[in-house]
């Protein structure tokens, strides 16, 4: 592991001051939350920050239930605590289910809300410094294209990067229309999660719209209206502690036997947690039926492109979404 300067920030202001640009060109600063991605990648010399700012003392570890029934989740709330929170489990089962489907009990005790949002979109070649990777070393090439890509993206890939965003939580938050609240050198701003992640394009090293020095402070969830049902289903090579081959998060609101609102996102198949607006449009205004669910799944995967080893994921993701819709709201 490369040497770095370590500072424990006492409050948000200090964290922002320590992280504020301009610093020396190329001098990387990283906020340290749970460490489950960052420390892992630092051990591999994939992440080589010059300065690590420990933000665990900022007090951002509370879940606040808002008067309208929504929720304000602190950036440092641990994944295990978020999953088990009574209001979250009752109002947003899709989020609890997604969190508990991710990682292991130990990692869920460590990993945080903001850390999960910012865990790297990655593949085995990104982790291996002997391999070519445009994300780790821009312009070097991509060994995943034509390589071991069975588990990589079928949606949103570019000729520069086909790595998959591995998060479960982010897929649920995408379906729930979460908002990411940040503080930075220029003040605070709120970013819809659906606008938060970037496609790899020709700059796969950039994964989010966050600007240098910006700190996530909390995540907002809108209230769940009466008649809302939600569900997360994750398909993988083994029953536990494995990344998704395909997963789906579904939030449906039903009124008078018709779907009046839909939030749909896919995991394990996209270069970012994959929002599916076309599938949502297929369902809104319709009665829940097997045919509608099939049509929504086809719409969700309409632009999918297979790599050399992962063509099976396209049909798997379609079936995963149909199953998730049917579980959340049985077709009539």
């Amino acid at each position: 592991m490369h040497s770095f300067q370590y500072t424990r920030a006492a409050d948000i202001e200090e964290a922002l001051r320590l992280a504020a640009p301009p610093s020396e060109p190329g001098r990387q600063v990283r906020f340290l939350a749970g460490g489950t991605t960052l420390v892992d990648l630092m051990k591999l010399d994939v992440e080589t920050p010059a300065h690590v700012i420990d933000i665990n003392g900022l007090g951002l570890d509370q879940i606040e239930v808002l008067p309208d029934g929504g929720a304000r989740i602190g950036a440092l709330v641990r994944n295990a605590d978020l999953a088990r929170h009574a209001h979250i489990a009752a109002q947003y089962p899709v989020l609890s289910q997604a969190l508990l489907a991710g990682a292991s009990a130990q990692l869920r005790n460590m990993a945080t809300t903001s850390g999960n949002l910012l865990q790297r979109t990655r593949c085995v070649y990104f982790r291996d410094r002997a391999a070519r990777c445009n994300k780790r070393d821009p312009g070097s090439g991509c060994d995943a294209i034509g390589g071991h890509n069975r588990n990589l993206a079928v949606l949103g890939a570019s000729e520069h990067c086909i790595a998959t965003n591995p998060s479960d939580m982010n897929v649920a938050l995408m379906a729930l229309q979460a908002t990411v609240h940040v503080q930075g050198p220029d003040g605070g701003r709120a970013i819809a999660l659906r606008d938060f992640y970037l496609l790899p394009g020709d700059t796969p090293q950039r994964e989010t719209v966050l600007r240098p020095g910006e700190l996530i402070t909390h995540v907002g969830l809108p209230p769940c209206a009466p008649g809302t049902r939600s569900c997360y289903v994750k398909l993988r090579d083994r029953a536990s502690y494995e990344f998704a081959l395909a997963s789906a998060a579904v939030v449906l609101r039903v009124q008078d036997a018709r779907i009046v609102a839909a939030g749909i996102a896919l995991g394990g198949v996209g270069t970012r947690p994959w929002h599916c607006p076309r599938a949502e449009q297929v369902l809104v205004g319709q009665a829940p039926s097997a045919a509608q669910y099939q049509q929504a799944a086809r719409a969700a995967l309409q632009d999918a492109v297979a790599q050399s080893e992962n063509g099976f994921k396209i049909e798997l993701a379609r079936r995963c979404l149909v199953h998730t819709l049917s579980t959340a709201l049985p077709p009539q």
């Binding site: 040497s3 489950t36 892992d40 292991s104 130990q106 990692l107 536990s240 502690y241």
Partner: protein, 170 residues
């Protein structure tokens, strides 16, 4: 480790840029000056000589390094030791003694919950935390919540039996 005269002293443990950190392990406080790169796992083993906690993958995938921090199970290999100051750290050395085994230790003996034993400290620390977590009655739910602990010898059936015995679920 001993040094013969003329050896270059090992400076990695107390570098010039070291961070003063007090680690509280199994109730005992240790005032240390730590390289910020040192993991809690390496610090427990190499600095405090508490070698019951094992290093397997060193990447949070195998669970051999599982310890408790403030009563919660974590992978010590992914914790920078400088971040663990003034928190209550518990390792297998603090769980029971030869004279008075923790019920899980006794149950692992009774049910033969290991073969080579390398993963056992992590399995037991993980299970000791599980006893206080929400977990259904079934073997499958125990398997799910123990999936962060790998046993290359494949003693899983007996590990689950030992844990369920202590939970009173069989």
């Amino acid at each position: 480790m001993s040094h013969s005269p003329g050896d270059t002293p090992c400076t990695a443990r107390q570098p010039a840029g070291g961070v003063p950190t007090t680690l509280r392990v199994n109730g005992a406080s240790h005032a240390l000056t730590l390289d910020p790169r040192a993991t809690l796992l390496d610090t427990l083993r190499e600095t405090l000589h508490l070698t019951g906690t094992k290093k397997g993958c060193d990447h949070g995938q195998c669970g051999a390094c599982t310890v408790h921090v403030d009563g919660r199970r974590v992978n010590a290999c992914l914790v920078l030791a400088v971040t663990a100051g003034d928190r209550d750290i518990a390792t297998i050395e603090g769980l029971g003694s030869v004279q008075s085994l923790h019920p899980l230790q006794a149950a692992f003996v009774e049910h033969d919950g290991y073969q080579c034993g390398y993963c056992t400290a992590g399995q037991i620390m993980s299970a000791a935390a599980l006893l206080h977590e929400p977990c259904g009655d079934s073997d499958d739910e125990v398997r799910e919540l123990m999936s962060g602990n790998i046993c290359r010898c494949g003693a899983y059936a007996n590990i689950v039996a030992a844990i369920q015995d202590v939970r009173g679920k069989r």
